[in-house]
């Protein structure tokens, strides 16, 4: 098995607010991230696909195709967007790194036809990231 990773970046804004909680609770739990006008990050996404290289092309999957999938599914959807209001897949969820990475997994998993999606890692900053992968070890 070979693991191939492609990286993309996108920039987006978000805020953390749960309408079911009081203003004080929101502030206590989410702190600065609760600022009502939102704030933004440069996100870095690493997408890892696992597979055997095709004997004819030597490729696990065509990188051009992966690039197009990422452009269509992620960049067009999330880049320069306000994640709370403009991304349907995050509707009703707090757009934390954990929830965004799961939404990204769910978007990409059915689109990867050669090899299979192994892991996605989303960096919100250089020091904070979330990962989503298939839970087959358990």
């Amino acid at each position: 098995m070979v693991y191939l990773t492609r990286k993309i970046e996108f920039s987006a804004s978000h805020l953390y607010h749960n309408a079911a909680l009081s203003a004080e609770e929101n502030q206590r739990i989410f702190g600065k991230c609760n600022n009502p006008h939102g704030h933004g990050h440069n996100y870095t996404l690493e997408v890892t696909v696992a597979g055997e290289p095709d004997p004819v092309t030597g490729m696990v999957l065509d990188l051009k195709e992966l690039k197009e999938i990422l452009e269509r599914e992620i960049t067009q959807r999330m880049d320069h967007r306000f994640l709370n209001y403009e991304v349907a897949e995050l509707k009703g969820q707090i757009p934390t790194c954990e929830n965004i990475v799961r939404a990204i997994w769910n978007l990409l998993e059915p689109k990867i036809k050669q090899g299979r999606l192994h892991k996605v890692r989303l960096y919100e900053t250089a020091d904070l990231f979330a990962e989503c992968y298939r839970n087959e070890a358990k």
Binding site: Y16, Q93, I94, L128, A130, E131, C132, R134, N135
Partner: protein
């Protein structure tokens, strides 16, 4: 597909510390041969990076596996306060007997963070320099 997936949260922390690699089980010559510059009797230092990965259920109310403030506070108390701007050999009990190689530093940090009550510790990665990194996930290491 989300039922089949697992989510981890990773966070990077930093501390600066000095150490000296010297094993009482070896002669002076052997120490010098094995550890080279790292055996310099006065020690030397690094800017360490500690990457902590935890897993757990994402709480629908917060969207979080764990509140970062709680994880940060725990790591700060258990690791950073004990290690930052210290001599690992002299100031950290675990390294009075054990050579503070980054392998052992990584394992010691893992043991200190293992009791974190709010999420499951998956693994600890310690970068001694940008070219040397070590990972430990306990005895039941699972590649992913």
């Amino acid at each position: 597909m989300s039922g089949e997936t697992k989510i981890e949260l990773g966070r990077r922390y930093r501390f600066s510390a000095s150490h000296r690699l010297h094993s009482p089980q070896m002669s002076e010559e052997e120490n010098c041969r094995v550890y080279g510059k790292c055996n310099n009797p006065y020690g030397h230092g690094h800017n360490y990076v500690v990457e902590v990965s935890v897993s757990g259920q994402v709480d629908p109310a917060t969207g979080m596996i764990v509140n970062l403030a709680d994880l940060d506070g725990f790591v700060e108390r258990e690791v950073i306060e004990a290690f930052d701007h210290k001599s690992l050999n002299e100031d950290v009990e675990a390294f009075r007997e054990r050579v503070p190689t980054t392998e052992y530093v990584c394992m010691e940090i893992y043991e200190r963070l293992k009791p974190f009550p709010l999420a499951k510790l998956e693994r600890v990665r310690v970068e001694e320099t940008s070219n040397n990194a070590f990972e430990y996930a306990g005895e039941e290491f699972q590649d992913h």
